[in-house]
Symmetry: C2
Subunit: 130 residues, 2 copies
Amino acid sequence: MNIGEVAERSGLPPKTIRYYEDIGLVRPQRSDNGYRAFRETDLHKLVFLGRARALGFSIEDCRTLLGLYEDESRESAQVKAIAEEHLTAIDDKISQLRDMRQTLSQLIDACHGDHRPDCPILSDLSGTPG
Amino acid sequence: MNIGEVAERSGLPPKTIRYYEDIGLVRPQRSDNGYRAFRETDLHKLVFLGRARALGFSIEDCRTLLGLYEDESRESAQVKAIAEEHLTAIDDKISQLRDMRQTLSQLIDACHGDHRPDCPILSDLSGTPG
DNA sequence: TATAGGGCTTCCAGTCACTGGAAGCTCAAG
DNA sequence: CTTGAGCTTCCAGTGACTGGAAGCCCTATA
């Protein structure tokens, strides 16, 4: 498979796949003409990476997960630990965003949003009381 | 004020303040010795920036908001529009994260997490049915 | 056979918002 | 006069790509 086909089938852009090769996540062979030659196992790995990234795992997590995926003697506890840590990080982000959302929507509600210049949003940002 | 004091009072690291000067968000004067000389208005701006960033506004949004903040003839509708667009972006991110969270926590629940190698998390990532 | 195009290659630069570190100047205290 | 903190600039790195240029490869058509 050339990169175009594997991109199509994995759903990842060719640029991303080349990048993944650069950082050693996949190691496709090469054809005589210099083109990357992907095997089915490479495709599987790329699909794996696409899904893991879609779940928000970092590239380094993905690298570790791929390693575990290929390690027949892994312990599922290792995978679960990584996933749980990531879940905690997601929860942290969600609660940060919720805090932002809360403050911001209050400010938006307080702003009349017309042609007049006075604006509770700017007042709050500037620290002006009131 | 030197950068140390303004950093202390604004809560922003000196590095960040220098960066904000680099990109033109603040324009402190200079003392004879070459040190940045911040006035109270510079401090106000930095506090404003710190709060706006804490609400997740991008630097470019911050630049626009600062402009409106300093523009006496602004219309509050302009500010509100920026804030509303940002709120939408926050909501989008929250729902993305919630989707991730949902999938991930299901996988975690399904994984026994012991010394055995079989793992629903890896199965799902690899696309293996079951 | 010439050529046009699309796909492939590499390499460099840019994104966003900082952050770390090196080399060197300035200033106040002891 | 030295020490050390604080200030300066400049360069490089972060994460995970993404865009673009220059150029090779392959196939189809005139």
